[in-house]
Amino acid sequence: MTGALSRRALSRRALSRRALSRRALLRGLAAAVGALYAVAPAGRASASPALSAGPALPVDPVTVATLEAFADTIVPGVKRYPGDHALAGAAPGPGAVQAGAITLLRAPELGLTPLLPGLAGLLDVEATGYATTHGRPPLSLQPPLSLQPPLSLQPPFVGLRYADRAALAADLLRPGTPDQKLWLLLALVSALAFDTAAHLHTPDAVRHGHPGLAHLRFPQPDADGLWRYPRFSYQRTLADPHPSTTPSGSPA
């Protein structure tokens, strides 16, 4: 596939996505998730050490790159390698993508995998619209970037700079906007990967230096995987109680 062909394909894809009713996608979310689970109920979560061990469905590279760029907008991180376009490199240290956002999005327990291409496509339509209305040339109109296949796969959202990605995300996530719940779901999963390592057992994640939990300085558990704090209090009287406090300790 040449870069030009790829860009034409992207453009056609974007146009076809425009015709897709957002309302229909939103309405279809619940139904599709329900249908997925009806035919393929997820196994008990505790049976597998990590969600990535589940039977993740294949997702195309354009979708992955777009969703990586979105997750990286929520919790930005360094680029993983020279020429990493999905990650904007807006912040030092690992971000949501390194923390496992795509693994979590594809987790069988969430049941979102069949919807990811549609969500990524919708995001790329929004990115194309944003680019054209903010004086940023949409990817398909940019001078040839390269004929190398990896670059030819850059979708429109990936083509935006971090500041533009963040501005577009802020627009999409503003309460009351049409598809806000969709983008909030994506943002929530991205953040959960970073702040909770939701695809891993927490004791394992902390011990193995999960980048998000390490960033928080999440404490280490005891040897049995449980947390205990024998020292937990300043052990000082630090305020006067309210004068109307009743004997049970409640307000009057």
């Binding site: 505790s46 049941g111 909770t196 390592a197 449980l226 305020a239 049970s248």
Partner: protein
């Protein structure tokens, strides 16, 4: 009579505070009680310290409405399993609230003084412990010191926790691994079981209608659900009873009644209206460690003034200063130190911009996570939540593991916003004084955040604005009682669990009287 129809004296729907307590009183009095619970039945060893999907998400639901996100329990024991155990009586003025309707919203028979004996009974039964300052973890101590620095009072919070067993692990949302938190699993439910009550987990009630068996009044239809995926039905059935106690929680009870309206021949207009979020309003203070040392004189270990957000029971201390009975309605609130697991970190904002909950600066703020201090204001909201058309099954449409979409709509009124603004001002006055921190409310990207859903099927004296009479019986439906948070008429300005439990205890004698009237061989027993 249909020989295949199962019958019992009493069906209790839900096993949290509102279900477990009547289940015990009725079983102890001699009634045959069946408890139907939507969620799974977890044992102590099943509770894990784990944020992985498929762990806590088995017992906690995050339910998205329009303009609001609600956290609720989903297991045997209900929200008592996942709550933070703060056990407070509601201030006296709450019972006199008039809201924007302009008349008293609680039944005339219900005042703080009339509820006090029932509060006391619950406090003794759970039991509730009074924390000393030596029991209050670092975050609660820090909040108290900041209150004193700002000329405020601050109290240790009474908690339903065995303080000797508690390890201050801060994993209460995941259930208590150490049997220290006194959930319904440790008191009322085992007591009900000991008196012959039966608890059936993974039974999601879908409909309440008239019984077909002579002598029985209500037919409760349920589906059973897969323990690994609650969206997958595995069967179903029906059970008929002379008494139904509905305690599915304020997010489910009105939905179930709305769906049952035709079968029941109508339900009161207040079913699914007047929902209250308890006026919950959360803010995060990014504390300045140097100022904690220099201004407050605190140091938890050499060179470390605080850095202890993660340590403790989640609720340690709170200020009652703004619970002034003489102040205007919608301006009163309590302010409580609280910890939320990192699943909520998304909502913390790094700046004043609407989008400051994500991005580069937010990530920088996250690096100081241990120095955050979270406070919850519980204010007087306007009961402005309304449930729309119920989903085909269940209380909400379950999208993914523990994530659901509810027909609840909540658009805060000017009265509610006034209370939140007052609470924000007070939080800043306490926590920003002398450069101690920078305080910002949680992002509203998910709408209002509510851990205390209330009032969606409330008690009252006015049939137009309340669904239940003052004995918790659904108007027009003798023998159908509602005893969960949905029965509480208004927000409470404190955590609601003790009030829900006290009201459920108070409902006991009336439910027993009705049961006896309908031929159930039962006597009220106040024994424990």
């Amino acid at each position: 009579m249909n020989a295949a129809t199962e019958t019992t004296d009493v069906v209790v729907i839900g096993s949290g505070f509102g279900g477990a307590i009547p289940a015990y009183r009725l079983a102890a009095g001699g009634a045959k009680v069946v408890v139907l619970e939507r969620g799974p039945w977890l044992r102590t060893e099943d509770f894990t310290h784990d944020l992985r999907l498929g762990t806590y998400t088995r017992i906690v639901d995050l339910i998205q409405g329009d303009g609001i996100t609600v956290v609720a329990g989903n297991c045997v024991g209900g929200s008592s399993v996942v709550y933070f155990a703060a056990s407070l009586r509601a201030p006296g003025f709450v019972f006199d609230r008039r809201g924007s309707l302009g008349h008293r919203l609680w039944p005339a028979s219900l005042r703080r003084a009339t509820l006090d004996p029932w509060y006391e009974r619950v406090e003794q039964t759970l039991p509730v412990a009074q924390q000393s300052w030596h029991d209050v973890p670092y975050p609660g101590g820090l909040f108290a010191a900041a209150c004193r620095n700002a000329g405020r009072t601050c109290n240790p919070v009474p908690v339903a926790v065995d303080l000797r067993r508690c390890t201050n692990c801060n994993w209460m949302l995941s259930g208590c691994r150490f049997d220290a938190k006194r959930s319904m699993l440790l008191n009322y439910l085992p007591a009900a079981l000991a008196h012959g009550a039966e608890i059936r987990p993974l039974h999601e009630v879908q409909l309440i209608g008239p019984a077909v068996t002579p002598g029985y009044r209500y037919r409760v239809t349920y589906t059973t659900v897969d323990g690994d995926d609650y969206r997958v039905p595995t069967g179903g059935g029906a059970i008929e009873a002379k008494i139904v106690v509905l305690a599915a929680g304020a997010m489910a009870t009105p939905v179930l009644l709305q769906r049952s309206a035709a079968a029941l021949g109508g339900v009161p207009a207040a079913v699914g209206r007047y929902f209250s979020s308890n006026g919950d309003r959360v803010s995060v203070a990014a504390m300045n460690e140097d100022r904690i040392r220099d201004v407050l004189g605190l140091e938890r270990e050499p060179g470390v003034p605080y850095e202890a957000l993660h340590i403790g029971k989640p609720i340690g201390s709170m200020s009652y200063d703004r619970l002034d009975p003489h102040a205007a309605e919608f301006t009163r609130f309590s302010l409580q130190q609280i910890y939320f697991p990192t699943i909520t970190n998304l909502l913390t904002r790094s700046g004043d911009a609407g989008s400051s909950w994500f991005g580069v600066e937010k990530k920088e703020l996250s690096a100081r996570w241990r120095s955050w201090l979270t406070v919850l204001a519980m204010t007087e909201d306007d009961n402005e939540g309304t449930f729309g058309v119920p989903p085909p099954t269940g209380a909400f449409t379950r999208l993914a593991s523990s994530i659901g979409l509810s027909p609840l709509r909540y658009a805060p009124t000017a009265n509610t916003l006034r209370g939140w603004a007052a609470a924000d001002t007070e939080a800043r006055a306490v926590l920003e004084r002398d450069g101690l921190s920078r305080v910002r409310p949680w992002s509203d990207v998910g709408g209002a955040l509510c851990a205390h859903p209330l009032s969606s099927c409330r008690m009252g004296d006015d049939p137009a604005t309340s669904a239940l009479d003052d004995s918790n019986e659904l108007r027009g439906h003798p023998g159908l009682f509602v005893t969960d948070g949905s029965a509480v008429p208004t927000s409470l300005c404190v955590n609601p669990s003790l009030t829900i439990a006290a009201l459920a205890e108070r409902a006991g004698p009336a439910i027993v009287r009705r049961a006896a009237e309908f031929g159930v061989p039962v006597r009220y027993s106040d024994a424990w």
